[in-house]
Symmetry: C2
Subunit: 126 residues, 2 copies
């Protein structure tokens, strides 16, 4: 554990070899986990500058603003960082479903002991 | 987006090149985000088999059970998987502070617009 990073009062994101940190997105009002994505330095800067969540797409190798095609943007309420500064929490107000499947959250399936997945209703996603 | 994975009713974790998926840990009772870690296939299997959260330490290249040194283990209540099956949500009952700093959550600092970090009380961590 990097002692400097966990007591620091300055934001010093610890990017991985690909220049990314993990970004966890929750609904600021309900606390529900909406999605997980990745951010590079530019995505963080654009999110802070615009108040709209931006991420780095590893599959497309491109910066994207969540909602740029779906319309379901995420307005930033607060950004937090974890102890070793390699993960961010974005507390947001979502304009619509966060998942590309149309669900509120990307975490809509429970993993059962036998490897089956049980689909959950939006209301059960806490 | 992998269409098979987002509609699948079978657990088919999509491990990265290092054999890992992102694991997000929340308090099952309060919904508070506690920590983020990584899991390989063995960590998932051990967590399911024992009901205690296991992770893969990238820095130590070792499987570890959360709490094995601190005593602050995480009892699994429910595991969920996201749409493309490269991230897991572990809803847990924590035996104590999840963060190595003694705080309930690893996300105890707010990132301000000017790059300053503001320390939050445990009660403010939602």
């Amino acid at each position: 554990m990097d002692q400097q990073r966990d007591t620091a009062d300055r934001f010093l994101p610890r990017f991985d070899a690909a220049g990314l940190v993990t970004a966890i997105v929750t609904d600021a009002e309900t606390g529900v986990l909406l999605m997980v994505a990745h951010m590079n330095a530019e995505a963080i800067e654009r999110t802070q500058a615009t108040g709209q969540a931006h991420f780095w797409s590893r599959s497309r190798s491109a910066l994207w603003r969540k909602g740029e095609t779906s319309g379901n943007g995420l307005t930033l309420v607060e950004m937090r960082v974890d102890c070793d500064q390699d993960a961010l929490l974005l507390r947001v107000t979502p304009a619509g479903p966060a998942c590309h499947t149309g669900r509120r959250s990307c975490f809509y399936r429970r993993v059962e002991a036998d490897g089956a997945l049980t689909f959950l209703d939006d209301d059960a996603q806490s």
